[in-house]
């Protein structure tokens, strides 16, 4: 007997899905912003010639790159309150986890981008009297960031999908909402199909915008888009 698809119960719960999507975007967006800032800081520390800076940064990066995100999430949500008495809401735990985890990833992307800039660019900057920070901010980073955009994009997409893990600590993201609707309506196939479709549309739209942005940057003749 063929399965009878019926999307009406799902559509009736559209507000719940919308709220879930909003929460997913909130976690993803916040984590990306903090992740980028922290990632740059970690990258600069790791590139530092002083080992007292470089070594701890390297450790943080490696630990968060090599352990499963779910374990990290549980650790911040369940273990931290027990060990040091820091209570976090599900949202905070999610943001902390995904920020640091993204930072670890972005740190490597930043580092790779910075070292990929030719030595001559540093020379050119220093020759007109710039100090290290000015050369980094005005000359090296703007060029490095341009080369990093594809990796950033990839990570942002990956992160949006990874945030589905927050459902495990009862944060009402899109997947959590879908799960609830599925149980309520006994229509899991339809519900999860719609959820997947929402992920697809949001991420695909995001990719298009980013590609457009990359193309705009290509005006100066140096770009990752051919």
């Amino acid at each position: 007997m063929a399965y009878q698809w019926d999307f009406t119960p799902v559509l009736a719960n559209a507000p719940l899905l919308a709220q879930g999507l909003l929460n997913t975007l909130k976690v993803t967006g916040t984590s990306l912003v903090f992740g980028l800032a922290l990632g740059l800081a970690l990258a600069l520390l790791r590139l530092s010639s002083r080992r007292t800076f470089a070594w701890p940064a390297g450790l943080v990066i490696e630990v968060f790159r090599t352990t499963p995100p779910l374990v990290q999430l549980f650790w911040f949500f369940f273990a931290l309150p027990l060990l040091v008495g820091i209570e976090m809401t599900a949202f905070m735990a999610a943001v902390v986890t995904f920020s640091i985890q993204s930072a670890a990833f972005f740190a490597e992307v930043f580092r790779g981008g910075i070292v990929s800039i030719e030595r001559g660019q540093w020379d050119g900057a220093r020759a007109i009297g710039m100090n290290h920070g000015q050369a980094l901010r005005r000359i090296v980073l703007p060029q490095a960031v341009k080369r990093m955009i594809p990796a950033f994009m990839e990570r942002a997409i990956e992160l949006m999908k990874t945030t589905t893990l927050v459902a495990t600590i009862s944060y009402a993201d899109l997947l959590f909402a879908a799960n609830e609707i599925a149980q309520k309506t006994f229509r899991p196939l339809e519900t999860f199909t719609v959820a997947a479709l929402i992920y697809f549309v949001v991420i695909f739209a995001f990719s298009l915008v980013a590609r457009q942005f990359e193309r705009r940057l290509a005006v100066s003749g140096e770009s990752t888009v051919r």
Binding site: G120, R126, H132, S220, G221
Partner: protein, 255 residues
């Protein structure tokens, strides 16, 4: 009084000693051409003068002021703020131009004025455009480096150095990366700067240009000044055997 005085300048990369206790004095308005085979240390010498490379030993005095301070005998340390000051006073032009590809020509020239000198944007733009005009690129202000020829790029790089009002200019093989037909336009600009009476040091393989423009020629070999004198002395009547061999190898295929 000399603008720049170098005493006992030594540079080592690991165990490789590329400069061996060089003494050099540069007076206001002098134009010194530095010649030498590859590996003779000429680029390193130039790069030590504005501290793109830190000297391993030796003292560099600018306007009579010794730079850095002695930490222990024979070893000097330099503060970054002191070096950024020096680099504003001693401009440098590179073989590979090293233009900033994400900025337009005028953006490149303005950059030092804006970021280092904190000059307001309109004033910096006016100054930068004037410098571009001086090197014959008044109409290329808004072009990105990727859309400029090698000769144009190098002229933008010269304008970028000039914008900082340097007391001295260092040219590190400014025409070596250029197609032969583009060499002339860059040498022409350097020639004009020479006629303005600017102090400059020029590492070059253009012997003819060195002969006509330099007030003094230095021949470097094995990290030491092997021969030094007027262009006529060094290029026409070299006293040292190695200078003669070097010049002969350069003239081998000239017409």
């Amino acid at each position: 009084m000399s603008l720049l005085r170098v005493t006992g300048l030594t540079k080592r990369f690991g165990t490789n000693e590329v400069l061996r206790s060089i003494d050099l004095e540069v007076r206001q308005g002098e134009r010194i051409a530095i010649l030498g085979a590859s590996g003779s240390g000429k680029s390193s010498l130039l790069r030590c003068l504005n501290f793109m490379e830190l000297p391993t030993a030796g003292v560099i005095e600018l306007d009579g002021q010794p730079l850095g301070r002695e930490r222990r005998p024979g070893e000097r340390i330099y503060r970054e703020s002191e070096l950024t000051q020096v680099r504003q006073r001693i401009g440098m032009v590179f073989q590979q131009f090293n233009l900033f590809p994400h900025m337009t020509a005028v953006g490149n020239v303005m950059e030092g004025l804006r970021t280092v000198r904190r000059m307001p944007k309109p004033a910096a733009r006016i100054r930068a455009e004037a410098e571009l005009k001086r090197v014959g690129l008044g109409d290329k202000a808004d072009a990105y480096p990727a859309h400029l020829s090698g000769g144009q790029k190098q002229r933008v790089a010269i304008a970028r150095a000039l914008a900082m009002d340097p007391e001295m200019l260092l040219f590190d093989e400014p025409t070596s990366a250029l197609d032969p037909e583009l060499v002339g336009e860059v040498l022409g600009v350097i020639r004009n700067l020479a006629d303005e009476g600017r102090t400059m040091l020029l590492v070059t393989h253009e012997l003819g240009f060195a002969y006509h423009v330099a007030t003094r020629v230095i021949f470097l070999a094995d990290g030491t000044i092997h021969e030094s004198g007027t262009p006529d002395e060094v290029l026409k009547n070299p006293r040292q055997e190695r200078t003669r061999a070097f010049l002969a190898s350069h003239k081998q295929y000239s017409l």
